[in-house]
């Protein structure tokens, strides 16, 4: 990002910094109008959050002293482009007893890292795998 680090003075971005707020296909907030929707110039795709917006919000959260919230936004930024099915599959795998062995979680981590560039999230899943192993979660529940 070329601009300086955002601070709480830039918040809300939609009001204070509308020029840096862009939808997934580059549309600015002023382009997302009812007319544009009716003329099919705006689709649901344009109303999705972007990884960039989440990282901007992470900067603001961090400036407000909310480190853990910022980290959540950064994890989320990595998931923006991850397909819904993949998200639901990894979530399901993280639930107790779904993975029968550590390997399944490690494979999911690798997939997140290699196919989606989700490095933080991959490490997060690997960390879960280690804790699950220590706490005996890799067992059949139903």
């Amino acid at each position: 990002m070329s601009e300086d680090r955002l601070t709480i003075g830039d918040y809300p971005l939609a009001e204070k910094r509308p020029e840096i707020v862009r939808g997934k296909r580059g549309k600015g907030l002023d382009e997302i109008t009812l007319d544009a929707v009716l003329e099919d110039r705006v689709a649901l795709e344009d109303l999705r959050i972007t990884a960039r917006a989440l990282r901007q919000q992470a900067e603001i959260a961090r400036a407000a002293g909310r480190e853990t919230l910022a980290e959540n936004f950064e994890r989320a930024a990595e998931l923006v482009e991850v397909p819904q099915d993949t998200i639901m599959r990894v979530y399901e795998l993280l639930r107790p007893g779904r993975a029968q062995a550590k390997g399944a979680l490690l494979a999911a981590a690798t997939e997140l890292r290699e196919q989606h560039g989700a490095n933080i999230m991959a490490a997060f899943v690997e960390e879960a795998a280690a804790v699950y192993e220590r706490r005996g979660l890799f067992k059949k529940r139903f």
């Binding site: 109303l47 853990t68 819904q84 007893g97």
Partner: protein
């Protein structure tokens, strides 16, 4: 006497009376930490403690890292700030407790220290505070300055028309968030669309959620129909967590997933859930909750729905349970989390306990005071009845007015509610028609607009809703389709409102802590931080906001009272005439009883508070006096409007020395000339329940006193009605009309009355 049943009572009957009160439907549990029934302390709670080494946390609250369960591990890894921990953990708990209630210690300093405190430490600190101190600390520590509220909008039939009408109604009353759920799981999509449309009527900005199965909820969110989620539950013991079918990592993953879809999210936790799930580890409710809350901060969620929630009823069975619910909320906001502070699942049948439960939150304020408030009738609440429901919404509005406290709601005029409900029903009907999902009839629509609850509607049933819902899902209808349908059918304003709500996702501003939308602007802990530092700081009810809060319906004015009296004036004109005969002299007849009427009696005021025409009152008094051989004389007092002095003045000029004083509102006294003003013979102070027969007997007794007898005093039976609340406003306005007409030193006037018409 033994062995003779019925001869003597073996029970004070008051206990039988108490047995009949709603309170006795509540069951209370003995304090028993071994079995999980302890609010603040159990001997199994660990002592606070923390050691940190280069590799991270080594021990926390008495457990070494190798033995950490998943919750410990997650808290140690993500919540504990090793830079702050040594300082924070070394501070005595009572000292930190004092800082929480010290207005000079800023919130930010306490939030910083919390980042270095373990669950046991946080619990130990808040346990030092009294209930009052917890409420005060909560007010100081909550993240966003402006308080808000959340509504449940559901109905027993999953009827989309009613859903839309009730959502619009909730929005009109000012709720910042609306949460729905279904009776039948597959109706989620229909509910979501109906609420989204309803919530776009009237204004924009009310955030909306559809509580359903995790994957389904996320899908509905992705389709653009919902803007927040709060069903991500966490628990304070590992076994409960696993039975809840999640882990801290899976929930944190889900939290990131919601954020990645631009959906605001908070977790849910509350005392009692571990107890209900059977894995409480003999720990106190507060300690387990402190773990849940540290975990939520660790996960990086912006907020929590907290304060018992579904566990509130069981928590309220334990001594200190309600205080515990407040204490856990305090930990939540101290950890800098948005707090949707419970006050939802109804924990009691006692209205007194309900009112007491809500009060601290109403006066302290909260990000979302209820999570949520049942804006619909209790039987329509698909979550279960809330602490407060549609039935009690006006009580809540009045509490706001009583305490000049902003509970997040605003009274709305009847005509406006009706217009909004009509508009909402028309809007959702247009959407259903336009998208080929349904053809609501005029009768269906009309029944919903007027209905207080689903018992009164002739509209869609759960099966109809299921068909609509499945069609929405199968055809992958999104919010864009709904926006287009609204606009095409002439609901441009609603289409705009809905689009604005979905557009919030692009910037993500509303993902920050405690975000709501007010007047088209995102308001959160970032741009509306709680800056309380004593009187004059923090949230204050502004003049404009106060005007809104006090504007409840049916407020009495002086004009209204005078208008009502002018109606009675005409009627009384046909029943009685009063003729002024000049100054009243003292009487000589030993049987004479003087009736001293007040200045406005029959002049500006014409009926008693009980609704009796004043002519009828005089008729009864005179008849009663005559019946016991007395002679009545009517005198108007002009120097006083006070009952006692009316009576005493009348007695002083009566031949017998006995007089009756009566005000236009019907309050009366029998007096004797030699008694002190407020030490009368008989007082009739409850005019609203004083009947004509009582006035007749009053006259009779006065005549008997005149003859030196001691009659049985007239007792006006009263059943403990709170008469003051019903009549005082009117009575004070009426009395002011009387006092306005008094003149100091004015002499009593002889009045000749004549009854007209029937019975003259």
């Amino acid at each position: 006497m033994a062995g003779e049943p019925g001869n003597f009572a073996n029970r004070w009957k008051r206990f039988s009376d108490w047995d009949e009160r709603p309170l006795r439907l509540d069951k209370f549990a003995i304090e028993d930490a071994e079995n999980g029934f302890a609010s603040f302390a159990s001997r199994h709670d660990p002592k606070p403690g923390l050691t940190v080494a280069a590799g991270g946390v080594e021990t926390m609250d008495g457990t070494g890292a190798p033995d950490f369960d998943m919750i410990d591990a997650f808290i140690a890894r993500y919540h504990i700030d090793p830079e702050i921990a040594p300082e924070a953990m070394a501070m005595p708990s009572h000292e930190i407790a004092r800082m929480l209630v010290d207005m000079n210690v800023p919130r930010s300093e306490l939030v910083r220290l919390a980042h270095g405190m373990t669950p046991a430490k946080l619990a130990e600190v808040v346990a030092e505070l009294s209930t009052l101190e917890i409420a005060f600390a909560y007010s100081k520590m909550r993240a966003r300055k402006t308080p808000g509220n959340q509504a449940h909008v559901t109905n027993a039939k999953d009827d989309p028309l009613q859903m839309a009408a009730d959502a619009a109604t909730a929005v009109a009353f000012g709720f910042d968030e609306v949460e729905t759920t279904m009776r039948v799981a597959r109706n989620a999509w229909s509910n979501a669309v109906a609420c989204a449309v309803g919530a776009s009527v009237g204004r924009w900005g009310t955030l909306f959620q559809c509580s359903s199965e995790e994957a389904e909820e996320l899908r509905i969110g992705m389709a653009g129909f919902t803007s927040y989620a709060e069903t991500v539950s966490v628990y304070g013991t590992e076994k409960s967590f696993i039975d809840g079918d999640d882990t801290p990592w899976s929930k944190a993953f889900l939290a990131a997933a919601y954020a990645s879809r631009g959906i605001k999210m908070r977790c849910t936790s509350g005392a009692g859930s571990e107890l209900l799930m059977g894995f409480h580890e003999k720990k106190s409710l507060l300690y387990l909750e402190a773990r849940c809350l540290c975990l939520q901060r660790a996960m990086g969620v912006q907020g929590t729905q907290n304060g018992g929630i579904d566990g509130a009823p069981i928590t309220c069975t334990v001594p200190g349970g309600m205080r515990e619910l407040m204490a856990e909320n305090l930990i939540a906001v101290w950890l800098d989390l948005e707090c949707a502070s419970g006050n939802d699942a109804r924990p009691t049948e006692s209205e007194i306990r309900v009112g007491a439960k809500i009060m601290p939150f109403l006066i302290a304020g909260s990000d979302l005071i209820c999570s949520g408030f049942g804006s619909i009738l209790a039987y329509d609440n698909s979550f279960n009845p809330s602490l407060l429901n549609g039935e009690e919404l006006e009580d809540y509005l009045v509490l706001q007015r009583d305490f000049e406290a902003d509970g997040g709601l605003t009274p709305v005029e009847e005509t406006r509610v009706l217009a909004l409900r009509t508009r909402a029903v028309e809007a959702i009907s247009a959407v259903l028609e336009e998208l080929g999902l349904g053809q609501p009839t005029d009768d269906m629509k009309a029944s919903v607009v007027a209905a207080s609850g689903s018992d009164e509607t002739r509209s869609y049933l759960p099966r109809d809703a299921a068909l609509i819902s499945e069609s929405i899902k199968e055809r992958a209808i999104t919010v864009i389709d709904v926006i287009k349908a609204l606009a095409t059918r002439g609901f441009e304003e609603e289409a705009e409102n809905l689009l604005k709500l979905v557009r919030l996702r692009v910037s993500g501003d509303y993902l920050q802590t405690s975000a709501v939308v007010r007047d088209g602007r995102v308001l959160s802990a970032i741009n509306d931080p709680n800056d309380y530092l004593g009187p004059g700081t923090g949230y204050r009810v502004s003049k404009a906001r106060r005007d809104e809060i006090v504007a409840i319906r049916d407020v009495l004015t002086r004009e209204e009272v005078l208008r009502a009296e002018s109606v009675h004036k005409a009627a009384e004109g046909k029943r009685i005439t009063y003729r002024t005969m000049g100054p009243a002299a003292g009487g000589n007849d030993p049987n004479e009883v003087v009736i001293g009427i007040s200045p406005a009696f029959g002049v500006k005021l014409f009926q008693t508070v009980a609704g009796h025409p004043l002519s009828a009152i005089l008729r009864e008094l005179i008849a009663g006096i005559k019946a016991e051989g007395g002679r009545a004389r009517v005198v108007r007092m002009k120097h006083t409007a006070d009952t006692s002095f009316l009576g005493l003045s009348a007695a002083r000029i009566a031949g017998s020395g006995v007089g009756i004083g009566i005000q236009a509102k019907g309050t009366a006294v029998i007096h004797h000339k030699d008694r002190l003003p407020h030490n009368n013979l008989e007082l009739f102070s409850n005019s609203p329940i004083t009947r004509l027969e009582h006035y007749r007997r009053m006259g009779a007794n006065a005549a008997l006193y005149a003859r030196g007898k001691l009659p049985e005093p007239v007792v006006v039976p009263m059943r403990g009605e709170a008469m003051g609340s019903r009549y005082h406003a009117r009575v004070s306005l009426i009395y002011a009309i009387e006092t306005d007409m008094t003149a100091e030193g004015a002499a009593p006037e002889e009045v000749e009355i004549a009854f007209l018409g029937q019975g003259a």
